[in-house]
């Protein structure tokens, strides 16, 4: 368990050899972003864009992709897109809850902050990051600490907020990254 979870931890130093696939993938993603940002499609700006994307891809392609992660990328991203509406719905519910707490006159009686600990079964860094940020965005909970093995410490604002963790959200995040 340990070695597989820790594979992507340290970024490779630039001197190590790189494969060409992540480089090209980074280049095309960045070029899409460039076209969106620029909005000018004449020769000068397009060629500037190609040069800039080459520079950034050379500088940072090992940050965006580590070589083992490129397989099955598209399926993961499609599943991630399907996760977003559910997450937005949860975020909206969470905000209504916090808004209710904020404007409640006897707020001090309602809240009961505590720190919850649990162990998640997710393994890779990216799924842990998605889960941790989803926790921070949704009902009354903030991720305090995550270890590489998936030990979470979560600060919850009141009892009903912290109870459903890890629960459904972990299931869904696990399904995205097929773990």
């Amino acid at each position: 368990m340990g070695s597989s979870a820790l594979k992507h931890n340290s970024p490779k130093s630039p001197r190590q050899t790189r494969s060409i696939a992540p480089f090209l993938l980074t280049f095309f993603i960045l070029f899409g972003i460039w076209l969106l940002l620029s909005g000018r499609f004449d020769g000068l700006h397009i060629s500037l864009g190609v040069i800039s994307c080459l520079i950034v891809a050379f500088l940072s392609s090992d940050l965006l992709f580590t070589s083992s992660e490129t397989k099955g990328m598209t399926v993961t991203w499609l599943r991630f897109l399907r996760y977003i509406p559910w997450l937005l719905h949860q975020v909206f519910l969470a905000n209504i809850h916090v808004l209710y707490l904020t404007f409640h006159p006897r707020m001090m009686d309602l809240i009961d902050p505590e720190i919850i600990r649990f162990r998640s079964k997710l393994k890779s860094n990216i799924s842990l990051l998605t889960f941790a940020n989803s926790i921070t965005l949704t009902p009354g909970t903030i991720t305090v600490y995550v270890s590489v093995y998936g030990d979470f410490q979560v600060h919850a604002i009141d009892k009903p907020s912290g109870r459903p963790l890890p629960g459904e959200m972990e299931e869904r995040v696990g399904r995205i990254f097929s773990e």
């Binding site: 909005g39 905000n95 904020t102 902050p113 991720t143």
Partner: protein, 107 residues
């Protein structure tokens, strides 16, 4: 169309107000982060949705790109907002601030 824009603007304003009032009313540093982190992010989402809808009303390539750029801000904030919140919490824990709880209050 304008009505939808107005509804989104007002919703965004409500969330922003909630965030600001929350960080004054809540008792300690950790609980203040809940309104600051969540309500502001959602307020931004609502406001940006309104702005993007208003921008792409007179439809052209440029206005479409501008609307997409506005949504790019939302994506960026949705990734970085929780991370910033987490960074502040982490700083609090490492600096040795103890979370406020009800039991301590009762003693």
């Amino acid at each position: 169309m304008n009505i939808i824009v107005i509804i989104f603007l007002v919703l965004g304003l409500i969330f922003f107000t909630g965030g600001s009032v929350g960080i004054i009313r809540f008792p300690d540093f950790y609980s203040r982060l809940h309104p600051a982190g969540k309500l502001d992010t959602t307020g931004l989402l609502m406001t940006m949705l309104a702005a993007a809808l208003y921008t792409i009303q007179d439809f052209s390539t440029e206005s479409l790109l501008t609307g997409l750029k506005i949504m790019l801000i939302v994506v960026f904030v949705f990734i970085t907002g929780p991370t910033a919140t987490h960074a502040i919490v982490d700083a609090g824990i490492r600096a040795g601030l103890r979370p406020w709880t009800k039991k301590e209050k009762a003693d």
